[in-house]
Amino acid sequence: MDYQLFLQLTLTGLAWGSVYALVALSFVLIFKATDTFNFAQPEIMMLGAYIGFTLVSVFHLPFFLGFVLTMLIMAVLTALMEMMVVRPLVGEPMLSIVMITIGLAYVIQGFVGMTWGYEEFEYPSPFPTDPILFGEVVISQAELYTIICTAILLVVFFLFFKFSSSGITLRATAEDTTAAFLMGINVKRVFTGSWVIAGLIAAIAGTFLASFTFVDPKMNFLALKALPAIILGGMDSVHGAIIGGLLIGVMENLAGFYLEDYLGSGINEITAYVVVLLVMMIRPYGLFGSKEIERV
């Protein structure tokens, strides 16, 4: 086996895996905090990419300013989504809430199509476009920076949850809503907060994904690989979501290259699902999940 090629494939896989991991993390965050699933996370990711694209490419803002503004806009939008779409349903069966988030996903898709059309755009990537050479290994800088930035983001994320008051409040609420009420925690605000944080993480994932692909109205389907990542890692496990996402990114990229000759093209598309099926047979609650989680 040509190790340089292997390394290159692994790095590309890690970059894609970073995107899956971030989107998976955003799913798990909302699930843990509010006990419901928001199926619109991939669309929220896409919306973040489109808004960033518009601010930088259409309004010609400097990238960094455009990025910060995108985050602000996404924070407001996700807070509004939680308050207007989900909040009125709190207390209803989980299925109703899940259905309404699927509805929300379609609304965002429709909005993106109407506003930006159905062609793909080049994203104003902040990363240099010329590849780096390590010996004979060719690495796209967008991919490399995606991996590095994701690692930094995850460290910040963990520090936030471990040490900041808001982080500890969120973990407490995720564990026991009633006890959280008794501590004087404004639980509704925490729910909204979890949507906002999840929305920002998804929007950052969208920024990465767009910078090594394109901005296009089907980006959300790419992010759907976060779902097998979550099932792989265990629905209620933050670590699991991240490791699951990275694993799926790497495995599908390796499989796509090495197994294509034997199994035909398209193998990379189904790798994630095959792996998940195999894992589910052995550990139905995922690699890191707790046993009592019900499956949606």
Binding site: G91, I168, R171, E175, A180, F181, L182, M183, I185, V187
Partner: protein, 264 residues
């Protein structure tokens, strides 16, 4: 300080659980709130904490006053801020958080500039056992330690009134005594009024100043604890020490139905 006036509450719009409860916790006192399983004790505490609406319940009549302010329409977080905390049934510590983090969450309503370390020290003085376990996940604590943590966590909010829902549940007798001593100490040293829900009537009546007995959502008896403790009905049904051989013959008939309900 705390006044319930003719409080009525339902679950799911139909199940009437509290049927007109009137109760008072005077400032600085310990009030015991006794009753058999399903009498509505926890429901009363949930009503005071503002939790009913989140459990598909509702206050349908009456009022709750705290320091002269009506609180029965307020949100749980506002009620905590007014100075009422609850140590819920079953402790409900945050099992995945460390002991220290649990205490920190307890101080959620306090100003950001209060000295967290100092506050924690104040609380840990009542529970030296927790001090050695600050970095431990709360889920790994023993039942008694979890109860201590639950009380400590509630104390972090600097309450004026602390409500405890069956703090003796599932604890060995030695520990129950220890916990009750601590409750008493908190009452005098921190000047916190206490509403104590208990099944362990003997301990509760020995600790409290005044007691109420709840049956099927109604208060059937109340009075100073030293009177309740000598009351024949209380002796017979809550303390299991009733003698009254001469009464037995006629009293038994009257009590039979009640006893059955209590034991169910």
């Amino acid at each position: 300080m705390l006044k319930l006036k003719n409080l009525e509450a339902v679950y799911n719009d139909i199940i009437l659980v509290l049927r007109g409860i009137s109760l008072e916790v005077p400032k600085g006192s310990i009030v015991a709130f006794l009753g058999a399983n399903g009498a509505g004790k926890s429901t009363t505490l949930k009503a005071i904490s503002g939790l009913l609406e989140y459990e598909d319940g509702e206050i349908t009549n009456g009022a709750i006053e705290f320091d002269g302010v009506e609180i029965h329409k307020k949100q749980p977080q506002d009620i905590v801020r007014l100075g009422i905390t609850q140590v819920p049934e079953g402790r409900r510590v945050f099992a995945e958080l460390t002991v220290e983090e649990n205490l920190r969450v307890g101080s959620h309503t306090q100003q950001k500039n209060t000295n967290l370390r100092q506050e924690m020290e104040r609380v840990l003085n009542y529970f030296p056992r927790l001090r050695e376990r600050l970095k431990m996940q709360a889920g790994f604590l023993s039942g008694g330690e979890q109860q201590m943590l639950a009380i400590g966590r509630a104390l972090m909010a600097k309450p004026k009134l602390m409500m405890l829902d069956e703090p003796s549940l599932g604890l060995a007798p030695m520990l129950v005594t220890e916990i009750f001593d601590i409750i008493k100490k908190i009452n005098t040293e921190e000047n916190v009024s206490i509403l104590l829900v208990e099944q362990n009537a003997l301990m509760a009546l020995g600790t409290a100043d005044y007691g109420y007995i709840l049956e099927n959502g109604k208060i059937v008896l109340d009075g100073p604890c030293n009177e309740l403790i000598t009351n024949e009905d209380v002796k017979e049904f809550y303390l299991g020490t009733g003698e009254g051989h001469d009464r037995r013959n006629f009293a038994e008939v009257k009590h039979y139905k009640r006893r059955k309900r209590w034991l169910s």
